[in-house]
């Protein structure tokens, strides 16, 4: 007796979600699944779903699956997909919008500390006006304990140390650049009434 392959049932078609995302990303509905985006994607090998699958899932309204995928976080924003897409779909913009939605909806980030990194990065800009890579690394480390994981410590800490020796990393600085102008921008963008 031939056995049918186990098939996953598609649930949770969230049309509100689908509509919202499609409104923010130019040309999303033009996708005909040629998979040019996934073929050229340098990180597709590490993703759970390929970029063309993510597009399809968004159109189907598979909100939970999309917002918990590793794909949206592993995207390096290299723009190869969007450059080659025959339908001029803004795929990187799509990934940005999905990352934002995933954060806002409070989904657990499936790829370690990528979301925390982006948050620390932007927080550094708010506090100091510029990114000082020493301070960035330090606050990222304090938030995540990433380098203290056994696997990474030798290689990554060693690289950081060598960079420090070569003057490519400096001790964290407290200097602020245009603090009023920068906090003004953050206030307007995040707390405009």
């Amino acid at each position: 007796m031939s056995q049918r392959p186990a098939r996953e049932k598609i649930r949770l078609l969230d049309h509100e979600f689908s509509r919202r995302i499609r409104a923010e990303v130019r040309n999303l509905d033009r996708c005909y699944q040629c998979s040019m985006c996934s073929d050229g994607c340098p990180v597709a090998y590490a993703m759970d779903y390929y970029p063309n699958q993510i597009i399809h899932m968004v159109r189907l309204g598979l909100k939970e699956k999309v917002l918990q995928s590793t794909a949206i976080w592993l995207c390096a924003s290299c723009e190869t997909c969007a450059t080659r897409c025959p339908n001029e779909i803004e795929i990187v913009r799509l990934m940005d919008v999905l990352r934002r939605e995933s954060l806002e909806e409070g989904f657990k980030n499936p790829v370690g500390n990528i979301a925390k990194f982006h948050r620390v990065f932007v927080e550094q800009i708010r506090k100091r006006g510029r990114i000082d890579e020493g301070s960035l690394l330090l606050s990222y480390e304090l938030k995540t304990g990433d380098f203290l994981s056994f696997k990474k410590i030798r290689e990554e800490a060693n690289l950081a140390l060598q960079m420090f020796r070569k003057g490519k990393l400096k001790l964290p600085s407290r200097k602020k650049y245009a603090p009023e102008a920068v906090s003004g921008i953050f206030r307007k963008v995040f707390f405009r009434v």
Binding site: P42, N113, H118, R130, K152, Y177
Partner: protein, 285 residues
């Protein structure tokens, strides 16, 4: 020839030698780079993940500061350059958005001068012939591949930089210095960029592919125009014993060298893969 210079954050640490060699190259070529006073971060790789409006407002502040200087911007970092160009592009096509961003930054924006990456300044404003005339020490015998990475060329409708799949601006500049430029297929492949801190395994894999390809076509070195690309390619090459490590130059280090700069050794001392041995063998250093 004057530009408002936007060094970008990596210029102050990771790619300090890029910044210094760009400034020196500019001096030899008669380009005046006037640093934008109190410039602030463009938001680069993380701003657009957190908030789209922030990702436009941060570079726009710097555009407005350049307006005050009545100069167009020149930036050495492709990521900064793309953020600046993206703000120009998006605000030009949406006047309502422009007004909103002007409110965010508390300054008016005038978008008539398109900002440029420093390679565009060399190619378009200085020109290949003028570059050739400045060469004191021809880079004869140096076989390089040029690596453009992502943000110089993509997205093409925003960067307006050369052919997005096979750019040649940096090739022509290297040839003007008498280096031999070898054709290869990895000019615009991604090195993993901003993933290097959070997902170094991915970056190592991508870098491994790129540097191996450079080696296979017989290059002595890779030439880049990006602080993040250079750091990734230079620091994360395969460690297995069979692999011949590949020096990774900034184009500006090689141009300054060809124009007679005495400071090249100091910059190369900051690289991870030794780059001085190769130049010494070729009697260029």
């Amino acid at each position: 020839m004057r530009f408002a210079y936007y060094p970008g954050c990596t210029a102050t640490s990771t790619s300090i030698e890029y910044d210094e060699s760009v400034r020196e190259t500019a001096k030899y070529l008669g380009i005046e780079l006037e640093e934008i006073p109190e410039w602030t971060c463009c938001g680069a790789s993380s701003g657009h993940v957190i908030n789209q409006e922030l990702a436009l407002a941060l570079p726009s502040r710097n555009l407005a500061l350049a307006n005050r200087m009545s100069l167009g911007i020149a930036a050495p970092c492709p990521a900064c350059s793309l953020r600046l160009k993206t703000a120009e592009y998006e605000l030009k096509r949406d006047p309502g958005l422009k007004t909103r961003i002007e409110e965010d930054i508390g300054m008016n924006l005038e978008l008539s001068q398109k900002s440029k990456h420093i390679l565009e300044v060399l190619y378009q404003d200085v020109g290949i012939d003028a570059i050739k005339q400045k060469v004191q020490k021809a880079l004869e015998g140096l076989r390089v591949v040029t690596y453009y990475g992502c943000y110089l060329v993509r997205p093409p409708e925003i960067t307006g930089f050369d052919d997005p799949e096979n750019p040649t601006i940096m090739d022509k500049i290297m040839e003007a210095l008498d280096a031999e430029v070898i054709d290869w297929s990895y000019k615009v492949d991604c090195c993993g960029g901003g993933l290097s801190i959070v997902a170094p395994e991915i970056v190592k894999k991508l870098v491994g592919r790129i540097v191996s390809a450079a080696s296979e076509v017989g290059a002595d070195a890779i030439v880049t125009a990006c602080g993040i690309c250079q750091a990734n390619l230079d620091m994360r090459q395969p460690k297995n014993s069979g692999f011949r490590l590949m020096p990774v130059f900034y184009f500006s280090e090689l141009s300054a060298l060809a124009f007679g700069s005495p400071n090249v050794g100091e910059w190369l001392a900051k690289h991870f893969v030794d780059a001085t041995g190769l130049l010494e063998r070729l009697k260029l250093l």
